[in-house]
Symmetry: C2
Subunit: 187 residues, 2 copies
DNA sequence: GTCTATAGGTTGATAGAC
DNA sequence: GTCTATCAACCTATAGAC
């Protein structure tokens, strides 16, 4: 792994753990085992490096979600496998975490990829819901967009509740709750 | 409003906007119009002042939620009025925001009140769900705890989606989605 | 109770040697 | 490409005058 690569990976970890405001170039360099010159050679500064890190995290998240949501099988099962996929719940969502950062939200270059990921996710989930309705796997009375937003929000909020509790239990409960609501009338 | 009061209020605002990591004593003092001596006279330091601010925010949140969830009326209506109460969605939840802060989570004194609030909220919502089931207003097959966690998570996740989008729309969508799921089999 | 002065460390960035 | 040296500004806290 070359230096630029190590810088991006260290930044990804620190953005996840501490956010943009809480992450200093110095901490990134220390973790990457690089000097200051390396960073300012490969990137124009903290913002530029963070953008590279955010883009990579988001590409990974989208790919992971797409595999699970595009798998063969019924819509409720695909949504279940997405919500129940293995997660390090107490670390939180590396993308959702960024939305609480004032300097990410204030900076349109940094916010844009985050916006795109959640926009894509809601559309993708809405498509799965609509497919499920067409195949009589889900209640045809549901609004696909609203249902998709509720599913995505439950996931993000589950992280919040779990971190507050210091335990993954509220996350698992929330996922159980939304899945029961989603599948109860259809079965 | 005396100096200690202004310090607490300024801290509450800044914790909401920027989190604990992103808030400096200097910024608090500037906003409160106080000098450094005042802060270290009334509080032992940043942590102590933040604790006072967090406790006050949490007391307010609990009181507001309790009024809406304890109002007369059917369970679905009370949950609806809680989820649809006026909110400054793009500012996010002042308590949920704290769960993304590494130094809040790592500090048990600061995390404790946050933990208590969400624990209380989930129990309160579960009680409302159970009451609704007893009065045949909600599907008796639902697990009250899981349903309550899903409702609380939708709220918290709604803020995340809205801030990512730069618009309250995903929040409103998520709330519509969870309420439709909750009330559809009962009606 | 509040102020200013000061401390030792960190932030994000630049300069220039190698 | 990577390093160290340096910068002005800021961080959290303490000291001590008023």
């Amino acid at each position: 792994m070359d230096t630029a690569e190590r810088l991006i990976e260290s930044t990804r970890e620190l953005l996840w753990e501490r956010g943009y405001v809480g992450t200093s170039p110095r901490a990134i360099l220390q973790r990457a085992g690089a000097g200051q010159g390396s960073m300012y050679h490969h990137f124009s500064g903290k913002e530029d490096l963070a953008l590279a890190a955010v883009r990579r995290t988001i590409d990974q998240m989208r790919a992971t979600a797409d595999v699970l949501l595009s798998a063969p099988g019924a819509a409720p099962e695909r949504i279940t496998s997405y919500l129940r996929r293995e997660r390090d719940v107490l670390r939180g969502c590396p993308v959702g975490r960024l939305t609480m950062d004032p300097e990410i939200i204030a900076n349109s270059r940094l916010r844009q990829p985050v916006d795109e990921l959640f926009g894509w996710l809601r559309r993708r989930l809405a498509d799965v819901v609509a497919e499920g309705q067409a195949r009589a796997e889900l209640d045809p009375g549901l609004d696909p967009e609203a249902t998709a937003a509720a599913v995505a929000a439950t996931l993000q909020g589950g992280y919040v509740l779990a971190r507050a509790a210091g335990s993954p239990e509220p996350f698992d409960h929330a996922v159980d709750g939304i899945l029961a609501l989603l599948t109860c009338p259809a079965t």
